[in-house]
Symmetry: C2
Subunit: 587 residues, 2 copies
């Protein structure tokens, strides 16, 4: 395996042996360690010293189920702290089978006008990957749905790509990194934290991989791996949330809309209520029923990436049976729907499609539009106006630039003081005043407000991995800490985080994950090691953030959430500071 280092200052390429210290690191564990080791904490995120690192997980590229995941890492233009943003895509699989343990993009060219494409292929003669550059300027300034097919036309059907949209070219704080899905759509995202702009700052538009002939992933102990794989498959296939025609496969992640609304934790109209009267109209069940009516059949969901057996990605069709978008995730549905007071499913679908077209993080974008609504730019519930705002972002107008900078900056510019963000990153689709544990995660994670960093929603709302009262503060530091550490490991394993549902409830599934990793790496990790390794990753990330100027003061909720009671429970965020501080103090 290699560390592939591409310096965009002079487009030089180096294949480096994997240093001993990185041997057992992968995914998030590896991107975060390289950021810590190589990026100056005070580097400008869009300057020459920042780096963009891609690393696949331990089992990515193998036949382990639901494991075609890649971590993108760097210093975030949105938060100013460390960032890992994880996505599922064929690209992850292709990077892994090329035996590229990490791809590091560094430097930036003096010529700011030319954008570059990077083409990776397997050189059978040399027995290693081959790196070519191509002028990608012709693909800039355009809708990704227009550009993506041209890549397949030019480089063949079997390629996969990572890239940035116009948002990354503009340097927006809410620019994600886009990858293709299995149907070649530019629709899978390392969405959060603005890493698309780090890519854009380096004048890289696409990284195309043609993995034909690539040797695949080495597995040290195949028998153990297969044993683990079987346990994992059994767990996924038997859990109500992840089994075929189960919650996720039927209704997608948007199955959460009704559940969170019922719990009073669905942030509505810029986090001013926990209930949305239009929730049922935009819920996962409504997507299923709408498709059924329009297509005349039950439509179950599909996989975003090779080898996924959960298959949670939906597609929304219009009245003529034409695809509006794929997919409408819960977070996107909520951000562009409930949080903007919009209950029009087709409009939400169109907005998701526009986020994908322009390379925008749907969560940050929806939160920003809601803040613009609070500022009076357009009224709450104005779907047409919201679509127009998305086009402003796509065109890079002054208003578009304000919104593209992300929720916190847009709020500052537009004069809004109720800004639902932590460390500069907007909050996702779970109200911390109604679900206290997720608030602890938002406040303390190294990532800025992020549900995936420690998804306490599982026990607090879904009764997965135990049960916890969402409105109580009791035990929430320990709960969030355990979820954050476990998550850091899962994000390194190469598995989609959704394996957490089955493996937290089914012990053999948890052991299956460990067996798979031990099988690939030849390690002898136990469940204790999962928490130890996860904790070590968090400590490295925390150390980077501290050097970048983060303190306890940054592990706090915005003032308005401590002051304004949230309907329907009429609670404020009242987790004491000591509890928040305990999360990392006792790591």
């Amino acid at each position: 395996m290699w560390i592939l280092r591409i310096n965009m200052t002079d487009r030089s390429v180096k294949f480096e042996d994997v240093p001993e210290k990185y041997k057992y690191l992968a995914g998030r564990g590896l991107t975060s360690q390289i950021v810590y080791d190589e990026v100056p904490p005070l580097a400008h995120p869009l300057g020459p010293s920042n780096k963009l690192i891609f690393a696949t997980g331990i089992v990515t590229g193998t036949s382990a189920p639901t494991s075609a995941r890649v971590s993108a890492g760097g210093k975030s233009p949105l938060t100013g702290g460390i960032k890992e943003s994880n996505a599922g895509s064929p690209w992850a699989h292709d990077l892994a089978v090329m035996r590229i343990k990490a791809l590091i993009l560094e430097g930036l060219p003096e010529d700011k006008k030319t954008f570059w494409g990077i083409h990776l292929s397997w050189d059978a003669d040399a027995g290693k990957p081959k790196v070519d550059f191509f002028d990608a300027t012709e693909y800039t300034g355009k809708d990704l749905y227009e550009v993506a097919p041209k890549l397949f036309e030019r480089f063949g059907d079997r390629i996969s790509f990572a890239g940035c949209g116009v948002s990354g070219e503009y340097g927006y704080g809410n620019a994600g990194i886009v990858y293709n899905d299995l149907a070649k759509r530019p629709s899978r995202y390392s969405g959060r934290g603005g890493l698309g702009s780090v890519m854009g700052s380096k004048r890289v538009k696409f990284i195309v991989i043609d993995a034909k002939g690539a040797p695949g992933v080495e597995i040290v102990d195949k028998a153990l791996f297969d044993e683990g794989r079987k346990k994992m498959i059994d767990a996924i296939r038997s859990h109500d949330i992840t089994k075929p025609k189960g919650g996720l496969n039927s209704f997608g992640t948007a199955v959460l809309v009704n559940i969170l609304n019922e719990a009073g934790g669905l942030p509505t109209r810029n986090f001013s209520s926990g209930r949305f009267e239009g929730a049922a109209k935009i819920a996962g069940e409504a997507i299923f029923e709408t498709n059924k009516q329009r297509l005349g059949k039950d439509l179950y969901n599909h996989a975003c990436s090779p080898g996924c057996i959960i298959q949670c990605s939906n597609t929304l069709y219009d009245e003529n049976g034409k695809e509006i978008t794929s997919c409408v995730e819960y977070e996107s549905d909520w951000a562009l729907g409930a949080n903007c007071g919009i209950d029009d499913l087709d409009a939400i679908g169109e907005m998701v499609q526009l986020c994908n077209a322009y390379g925008l993080d749907t969560i940050e974008t929806g939160c920003t539009i809601a803040v613009a609504m609070e500022a009076g730019v357009i009224p709450f519930g104005d779907a047409k106006g919201a679509i127009q705002l998305l086009h402003e972002m796509g065109k890079g107008t002054h208003l578009g630039r304000i919104l593209g900078a992300g929720t916190e900056t847009a709020g500052k510019v537009l004069g809004v003081t109720r800004i639902p963000a932590v460390k500069g990153q907007s909050m996702p689709a779970y109200e911390p005043r109604a679900v206290k544990g997720i608030g602890v995660t938002y406040a303390t994670t190294t990532m800025g407000a992020d549900h995936t960093a420690g998804y306490t929603i599982a026990p607090e709302i879904l009764s997965v991995g135990g049960k916890a009262d969402p409105l109580s503060n009791e035990g929430k530091a320990a709960l969030s800490r355990a979820f954050q550490a476990t998550t850091a490991f899962i994000d390194s394993s190469g598995h989609c985080l959704f394996i957490a549902f089955p493996i937290l409830d089914i012990a053999s599934g948890y052991q299956g994950m460990i067996d798979e990793c031990n099988g690939v790496l030849g390690t002898k990790w136990t469940a204790d090691d999962v928490l130890r390794i996860g904790s070590e990753i968090l400590k490295v990330e925390r150390a980077f953030n501290e050097a970048a100027g983060f303190t306890k003061a940054h592990d706090r909720m915005p003032e308005f959430m401590k002051r304004e009671p949230l309907p329907p429970h009429n609670q404020v965020f009242d987790v004491p500071d000591e509890v928040l501080d305990a999360v990392y103090a006792e790591l």
Copy 2:
């Protein structure tokens, strides 16, 4: 004396006795202490928990020369840290003679549409000030030059006022607090740090004082005070910089343009060079010569506030002998001139007038326009375009809001990575790569980049208070520390900082300042106490900032200054981090 507390939530008024711990504090020392004591460090600067505090200096309101100064303090919307911004105005004198030691504005009304005026007068019967409120909504949304005369018409010629412009109504990060000068112009500013928006957030448009009948300042030891006053007057009148028809009285602060240009330290075109080819055309000498030509006589400068014997405020006249603006300070001249590549004095005068009209800090505004020029919004040197950008700010368009948010935020939104700011506040008119000591001050002061916080320019460029090589790092921590501590005292004494020129060179002048203060307060301070008291103020400010989340990482120069050599000396900012850290570590 009283602490006057006005809560804008319900427009309630309290006169409080001065607590023992505030007895010897005044000016900056008092505003910073009250901010530390009363403002939650994580309060939103424009939310209900922030406070805006006005406090005059120890000798303000007496016959001490050049002492009609007031400190405005609060949590800064621009930096997120503590802020003290100091101005000279008749208003300072009037507040002092009413025996209001500090005026604290707190809370904010639910009704956001009504703006209030506060009218203070002396109630002879009650033997204390009287507070009335008036609806000031009619004065909002307008040019301050249009509005200010209406205040004098309505409340009489002898009033003075503090207020905010449209920028403060909009909540801009670069909104200053405006005061009238002696000729009733709305032209004196607590410019830096966005405190005008704190005022606007509380829906206060003006604070009008009619000091008729007010009792004046109590002086404990009149003889000692008079002795000190005489020493101070003698020092001011005999120093080349401050004497009648001396440097400041002849050419104003803009006398520095040629001096800094010669030193290679005049930041030009968004801090990309230390020399401006058009410097001579915009220098203080050019202002003097232009007026001479247009008026047919030598025009010496005038006082901004009662009792000033330095009289450094210039007026720029147009070809018809009509006033363009008053005054063109060095900082404004540089920010809107050299830093934007503009060498047209009349255009710069017009821009200063527009900043005053809209309530904008000239430094932050000029730096922001330069960043917009770097972003390509308009070209460098485009005076007409720059004037148009000022009107955008005044109108509150989307572009105007981007610019009004200040240099750092505007840079982020417009995609510029070369942002000359520290702690979110843009750098003033001295290039830290050419004058290292002032860079140490920029990096470490509690205020964000601020020359007035520790004006090492005196020894580094002007040979005042000793001599130091501007290009050397040698001894710069100690130098900046001494200047920062002394300044914190001077900012509390009530004197204009320009007394530093004579008193650093003339020992009896320095003793005069101490005698004046001891005379007013009945204290027995010595020169050691000046440094001790100044240091204590800095420690309080630093403690607030630490609680607000500031660390050593915030005491650093922007990355580009450590990387890009600055012509003509071709030096980078190379002061080691340990030197920066030593400034406060050894306080």
